[in-house]
Symmetry: C2
Subunit: 351 residues, 2 copies
C-alpha cells in the first residue's frame, strides 16, 4: 500500500512525538475534485460518518411526518450521541411516538460515551440500556421508518415486521442501502461489506464518492426531489439542535453550535469524517489510516473548515483553536500540541 | 519523513479497515541488532515504557531495603497501573513506609484507568486521588528514594527535601536521569526533552538504544553491579506480582502471569513498548507512529514474543491469541480482527 501524507501530528518537547497519515477528498456536486490528498479511490468503511445519508428515508418516506418527529429527534437520528440523559430520553420519545419502546432497538447496549453520564449512572446504581448506545437515535429512526412500512404493508404487526431490521435484506435496511447507493453513486452490490458496531451493514466506499454524496447533501443537486428535501430538512434540524448530534464538549456539537447551517459535519469510527459546506457547494470526506480514535480526524476536519469557509475573525479564531490545540498533562501543564499538518495549512494539492 | 512499515492492521468485512505503521528494534546486550523494522535511530519519547529503568536507583541506592519494600511495591514502582483498590492501597503503603502520605505525590490526579474502579468510586461518591494516578507507584518510589537522599544529606526534613522532585534538576530526578543515561548509553543532555503526563521529564531516545538498555536489563551485561542487581530484583518482583505492574485484563499482567521471568514487558503512552527477554539476552523497543492508543503496540509486542520465545503449544496459543484477536461489536458479534502485520509474522529484516 502506498504511503499517505501526514495529516495531523502530536508535538511534545519541541519535536513530533506521533503523527497520523490519511486521505482527504473535497468534491463538488458535479463530482469535480476540489482537493485530493492521498488515495481517494480506495474503498473505506464510512461507519457513522454517513448517518445523515442513512436517515434520508426516514424523512423522504413520510415517516418523520407520520410520527411528528421534532428537530431534536431528527438530529438524534443523525447522531453518534454521548448517551447523556437528554439523548436517551429523546430516543425513548421517538420510539414512543411509534408506539414502541427500548425493546424494539437492535443496536445493543453500551455505557455512555459521555464521562459524566457514566458516573451518574454508576452513582445511581443503574445499568445502561440500548437508549444509551450512541446509535440509539439512528435506530429509533429505523424503527419509525419500519413502522410506516408495516402500515403500508397492510397494517402488519409492528414488532413482528421490525424484527431483524438490522439485516441487509430487511425492508428497512434495503431502503437505507438504496439511499446510500443513490447519494454516493457507488455500486454497493460489488463492494466489501462489514458489520458496524450497532450491527447494521457498513459498505466500503471511496472518499471521492463519499465527498460527492455530501456535496449533494449540501446542494440538493443530483438527488431525487424527495432526498433533496430530506437532506435540507435534516441539515436544518441538526443546525437547530447540534447538541443532539453529538453532545457536551464534542466537536460536531461545538462547530455546528458556532457555525449553524454553514456546516454539516459528522464523525465516524476508525478515523472517519464527512462534512457538507452548503454555501460552497462542497462535500468533504476524511479517513485517517490508523483510525485509532478521533483526535486526528477532528483537527483535520477543523483545519479544512478553517481553510475553506470565509469566517469572521472570532469564528476563525474559534475554529483555529480546534485545529491546533494544547495537550495538557495530569497537573494541567501544557506539554505539547495536537495540530493539523502543513499539508492542510499551506498548499493542499488541487487538480 | 520516510514511511515506516505497517506493523498492525484492523480488518472488517474481509478488508483492511485501518492500519498502523511504526518501527521496531530487537538488540542484544552488545548492541548488536537482531531485527530492525523502520527507522530505529530516530529519537522517540519512551514515556512509561522505561519505568523499570527509572526505578533502578530506588533499589541500587538502598532505599528499597531501607524502607523494606515488598515485591508488590517494587512491581508498582515499575507500573502504569489501573488505579484499582489494591494499586492505590499499595502506593499508600509505600508512602507510609517512608513516613509520608498522598500529599507527597506530585504526579497529579486522574480517574482510574480501570473501568470497574471508576464506577466503584462514582458509586461511592468519592473523587479519585493521586494514589489512583497510573504513575503513583513510580512516584512513591521516587519519594522513597528522596527520603533516603534526605537522610544522607544530613537528615534534612523529608517534605522540604522532596518538594519539586519531578523537576530535572532535583537530586531525585538527577539520579533517575543518570540511570537512564547509563543504561541506554544515549547522550541525554543533547536530546529533546518533553514533560510526561505525570510531570517528570521524558527524553527522546532512539529505539536502538532503548532496546539495548532492555537487553542489559535482561542480562545485567554492561550495567554497573548495583544496576545489574537492581534490574534482576525488579524483574523478579514484577514476575512475582504482575498484577501490580498493570492490572485486571491488561496485556502486561496477562503475559507476565503466563510467562513469569521469561519476559519483562512494559507499555508506554503514544504507542510505545519495551521488553526484555532474559533467556535470549535480547531487548525490544517498539514505537507505533500514530501513538493513538495501545491496540497496535500490544499486538506487535505479542507477535514479537510469539516469534522469538520457544513456547510450549498452550503458551504459544495463548500468546497468539493476543497478537491476532477478534473485534466484537455492541451485540457481541465478531465484526473483524486486530492483528500484527505480515512483516512481523513472516520475514522481519535481520542484519
Amino acid at each position: 500500500m502506498s504511503s499517505h501524507p501526514i495529516l495531523a501530528e502530536a508535538l511534545r518537547g519541541g519535536i513530533v512525538e506521533s503523527f497520523h497519515r490519511g486521505a482527504l477528498a473535497i468534491v463538488d456536486a458535479d463530482g469535480g475534485v476540489h482537493t485530493a490528498l492521498g488515495d481517494i479511490d480506495r474503498p473505506v468503511f464510512p461507519r457513522s460518518a454517513i448517518k445523515v445519508l442513512q436517515a434520508l428515508p426516514l424523512v423522504a418516506s413520510g415517516a418523520a411526518d407520520r410520527f411528528g418527529l421534532s428537530d431534536e429527534e431528527l438530529a438524534l437520528a443523525c447522531a453518534s450521541h454521548g448517551g447523556e440523559p437528554r439523548h436517551a430520553a429523546t430516543a425513548a420519545a421517538m420510539l414512543a411516538k411509534a408506539g414502541l419502546d427500548v425493546d424494539a432497538l437492535e443496536c445493543g447496549t453500551h455505557w455512555p460515551y459521555h464521562d459524566g453520564s457514566i458516573k451518574a449512572l454508576a452513582a445511581a446504581g443503574q445499568p445502561p440500556s440500548a437508549l444509551h448506545n450512541n446509535c440509539s437515535g439512528k435506530h429509533a429512526g429505523f424503527v419509525c421508518l419500519g413502522c410506516l412500512l408495516a402500515e403500508q404493508a397492510g397494517g402488519r404487526d409492528r414488532r413482528d415486521y421490525l424484527r431483524g431490521y438490522v439485516r441487509p435484506d430487511h425492508p428497512v435496511m434495503r431502503e437505507v442501502t438504496a439511499a446510500l447507493q443513490a447519494t454516493t453513486g457507488y455500486e454497493l452490490a460489488r463492494t466489501a461489506v462489514g458489520t458496524d458496531g450497532c450491527s447494521i451493514p457498513t459498505y466500503a466506499i471511496p472518499l471521492r464518492h463519499l465527498a460527492h454524496a455530501f456535496a449533494r447533501v449540501a446542494t440538493g443537486c443530483g438527488l431525487s426531489p424527495g432526498h433533496a428535501r430530506a437532506a435540507q430538512r435534516l441539515r436544518a434540524a441538526v443546525a437547530r439542535a447540534p447538541y443532539m448530534v453529538a453532545g457536551s464538549g464534542r466537536l460536531d456539537t461545538r462547530l455546528m453550535e458556532r457555525l449553524g447551517e454553514r456546516l454539516f459535519c459528522k464523525v465516524g469510527a476508525e478515523g472517519m469524517y464527512c462534512a457538507a459546506l452548503p454555501e460552497l457547494g462542497l462535500g468533504v470526506a476524511i479517513k485517517i489510516d490508523d483510525g485509532n480514535n478521533a483526535r486526528a480526524c477532528e483537527v483535520v476536519l477543523a483545519a479544512v473548515v478553517e481553510r475553506l469557509l470565509p469566517l469572521a475573525d472570532d469564528d476563525r479564531a474559534f475554529v483555529h483553536g480546534l485545529s491546533d490545540l494544547a495537550l495538557g498533562n495530569w497537573n494541567g501543564i501544557e506539554v505539547g500540541r495536537l495540530r493539523a499538518a502543513d499539508a492542510l495549512r499551506g498548499g493542499a494539492r488541487h487538480r
